[in-house]
């Protein structure tokens, strides 16, 4: 667990990309404070900049303007010290490495940041993600859900404080997605990580998040930042068919429809 009270703090943040000398802003005026240990979901239509925002927090992209700190310091420091972990939409497993070798990747790359992983730590993470028995399989032998489990295991294995997840379940069928949502919540409760979870599914965003940040496109901006704790239990649990959850999903849908 991190000693910082704030996992992510952004003030007047502008994100986008540079095209030669031109800067193309996708999302602007982002003011956001994510306390340590929070599960924040980020929802928005395609092109609103939600993945780009996540990449700025991960230090995969530099911001175009404004201030951003991750665990009280620069995003680069958090990335270099392995305090942030990233899960991609397509799992991004290396096809020539087995499940075990993919999970151990953080121990073999990263220069002096690559610390050897103990067998017990690897066994623990394999157990946590329900991957026992699959260690020697290759990515092509896994289902979509299993692949994402391996990707999450790889992101968690060297114990980051913040897990950044970019539509990790976006390509999965609904049943698998629901199951992985429950597993992710369980991991979050067990580990106390801060999770920033990008999705374009309103149901998923409401079901998973303690707070939900809704982004609008053209121009990209924060439409709403809503606390969902009042309609969930203390452990961020809820039932999908709960009327309050259903009503919240409807409200978020209307908000998005009005903005687009």
């Amino acid at each position: 667990m991190s000693s910082h009270a704030t996992a992510v703090d952004a003030r007047g943040l502008q994100v986008g990309y540079r095209n030669g000398r031109d800067a193309v802003t996708i999302l602007s005026d982002v003011d956001l404070t994510v306390p340590t240990g929070e599960f924040l979901t980020i929802l928005g239509p395609s092109g609103c900049g939600k993945s780009t925002l996540l990449r700025v927090i991960a230090n995969l992209l530099d911001p175009l303007g404004g201030q951003i700190s991750v665990l009280g310091g620069a995003p680069e420091v958090a990335r270099r010290s392995r305090k942030t972990g990233f899960v991609f939409q397509d799992a991004t497993l290396l096809p020539w490495r087995s499940v075990l070798q993919n999970i151990r990747l953080p121990a073999v790359v990263g220069g002096h940041q690559a610390q050897p992983l103990s067998d017990s730590r690897v066994a623990e993470i394999i157990d946590l993600l329900g991957l026992s028995g699959l260690e020697d399989r290759y990515p092509s032998q896994l289902s979509g859900g299993q692949r994402q489990r391996v990707a999450i295991a790889r992101a968690l294995v060297d114990e980051p404080d913040i897990l950044l997840m970019d539509e990790p379940f976006g390509a999965l069928d609904e049943i698998t997605r629901d199951r992985l949502n429950d597993e992710l919540l369980s991991i979050w409760r067990d580990t106390g990580k801060t999770i920033l979870f990008v999705t374009h599914s309103i149901e998923e965003a409401v079901y998973l998040g303690q707070r939900i940040m809704v982004l609008g496109a053209n121009p990209g901006r924060i439409l709403n930042l809503q606390d969902l704790r009042a309609i969930k239990t203390e452990t961020n649990a809820c039932k999908r068919e709960d009327p309050a959850i259903v009503a919240e999903i409807a409200a978020q849908r209307e908000l998005l429809a009005r903005a687009s």
Binding site: R79, R82, F88, T92, Y138
Partner: protein, 249 residues
């Protein structure tokens, strides 16, 4: 389709063609000096095995050495071009131009420079292997997805680690596909070199047999050179299966 059928079908195909060649071709009136029967061709391997072997060994040596050095140089330059942008911008167009020169036009110059020994044939075989492997390997080294690059950046991978653990493995499917093609072109290179100036080797044997109307020897030399390509191909396929184990499981 059963496994037995899968194995037997191509054997049946080959045997039926050989049988038709053996029994139907003489009936059609094609003279033996144009197309000798398969049994006559294969008998050369037994009656004149020394002649075939003494010509097979130089060609095999040239093709193997050309294959090895040509592909090794291609891999080296592909890595150089992939990571040294200025070198790629400066010299890749030169390599492209060099590739447009027909190997048949280039071969006499190489023979002029290096004489009639094995060296010019090895160089010709190496040149013919070089370009496809260079282009494929370069493309392979640059074929990692944006997410894979980001994953390695996320892990603060050094440039060498990214090369070794991402770009190099990513390039292997394309490298092996060009190595498979190179098994045939290396033999072609060695034979072309022998045509232009050599007194031994399968290329020299083909020329001598053609001018002496010894069509059984000519066809036997063709079978021997084809066998050489097949053997090289099998070696590459075995290496590929071993190196890429796990990829396609």
């Amino acid at each position: 389709m059963s496994r037995t059928t899968t194995i037997l079908a191509p054997i049946f195909g080959a045997v039926s063609i050989l049988a038709a060649w053996q029994f139907l071709l003489p009936l059609s009136g094609v003279p033996a000096y144009i197309a000798p029967t398969p049994t006559k061709i294969f008998s050369v391997f037994f009656t004149q095995s020394d002649l075939i072997l003494s010509n097979f060994v130089p060609t095999a040596t040239e093709a193997l050495a050309g294959f090895f050095f040509g592909n090794l140089a291609a891999v080296f330059f592909a890595i150089l071009f992939a990571y040294a942008k200025f070198v790629r911008m400066a010299y890749f167009p030169v390599v492209l131009f060099f590739n447009t020169i027909p190997i048949l036009a280039l071969s006499p110059i190489i023979i002029l420079i290096f004489g009639l020994g094995m060296t010019p044939k090895i160089i010709i075989a190496a040149i013919i292997c070089f370009f496809p492997t260079l282009v494929n390997m370069l493309r392979g080294l640059q074929s990692a997805t944006a997410n894979e690059e980001e994953l390695f950046r996320m892990l603060s991978a050094t440039r060498f680690e990214t090369f070794l653990r991402l770009h190099l493995p990513r390039s292997l499917p394309m490298l092996f596909s060009s190595l498979r093609i190179a098994t045939a072109t290396a033999v072609i290179g060695a034979i072309v070199g022998e045509w232009i100036g050599a007194d031994k080797g399968l290329g020299a044997l083909i020329i001598q047999a053609t001018f002496n109307y010894q069509s059984d020897k000519l066809y036997a030399a063709i079978v021997a050179s084809s066998s050489l390509s097949i053997a090289l191909f099998a070696m590459v396929a075995l290496a590929e299966r071993w190196v890429m184990r796990g990829w396609s499981k």
